[in-house]
Subunit: 198 residues, 2 copies
């Protein structure tokens, strides 16, 4: 089905143009007109694919979350659950330029949703998908060794989610070329602190 693939590619091409505008100038600047210019097409041609700015922003946010999920699915199987969870969680941290751009878009759209009800639905869906990912990580650690058997798993999923989102935001506040090793060490320390006491 070459037609369908072309269509999806075009949507991603436009969403990535929207990402660049958002990272450079903020969400308010990402109008149909400016994103069309950034994508090298006419506003009319863009409106054939996204009928409104709202549809475009919703897809731009979904694409952030789809890319993270794709990276997680593409990971090899690690020898231990702890290493597997570290690798999964690292996909949600802006540890390279690609993930940093995604995180800036994610923060910009999540924050814009505070004053834009059109973005509430997609923000809540993405937020819940992230929480589900954290529940999955806690479940993987729940093997008698990597998670304290007395742990409250729902609370630990919420805590891991807070650690990941907090670290992600703090990394974005630093210059793009700053060392990110400190954040990896905080993540590793957090995962180790969940272990059963010996």
């Amino acid at each position: 089905m070459p037609k369908l693939i072309d269509h999806e590619e075009r949507r991603e091409h436009i969403a990535e143009a929207a990402w660049r505008v958002i990272v450079r100038d903020g969400v308010a600047a990402a109008s149909v007109r400016t994103v069309a210019a950034e994508a090298g097409m006419s506003p009319g041609a863009l409106r054939h694919i996204f009928a409104s700015q709202s549809e475009l922003l919703v897809f731009a946010l979904q694409l952030v979350s789809n890319r993270a999920v794709q990276r997680m699915m593409a990971l090899p199987t690690y020898p231990t659950p702890a290493e597997m969870v570290e690798a999964l969680a690292s996909q949600l941290l802006p540890l390279d330029r690609e993930r940093r751009a995604e995180m800036e878009v994610y923060l910009a759209l999540f924050t814009a949703a505070n004053s834009d009800p059109r973005l509430h639905g997609p923000r809540d869906a993405t937020h819940q998908a992230m929480r589900d990912g954290c529940r999955d990580m806690i479940d993987r650690l729940d093997n008698g060794t990597d998670l304290d058997p007395k742990a409250d798993r729902e609370l630990e999923a919420a805590r891991l989610h807070a650690v990941i989102d907090g670290l992600a935001a703090h990394l974005v506040y630093e210059p793009a070329d700053a060392d990110t090793e400190w954040a990896r060490r905080v993540l590793v320390r957090h995962l180790e602190s969940l272990r059963a006491p010996r």
Copy 2:
């Protein structure tokens, strides 16, 4: 010095008007003109106090951080360091309407700084003040009981900072009338997890 007090009160009155515009419509909407209208004054009168939108936004962000510090200073002395730290950290979480409005402004301005270099300086200063606050909390716990003596204090300050900022953002993503008890439980669990193993 009634003149000086009047001046500071007027600055806070305008900054609070800016907060309302930011919470309602986002940072991009908070121009000198719209904030003046919200504060019930002319743009010219506002420019006598803040020469530019940039000066106004910088003060609006400083006021968020000043209010949090004022609340912390006004806390009573709690019987134990652990209770004291819980009370201090709670001042940085949007657990009531006042702190929620502040947190929405804080997130909006921190995110806007990603694409607005004028806000880099004040964002970094506020971020470092928050990190110093977390270092102070870790130091208070470092009494042989409330912090594992083998803990890396700088790393634990960064981890506590991530937990607090992550929880704060997640609370803002929920409706204003949603129950916030889960976040308090995550914070308490995090502080308990720092204790020396018995």
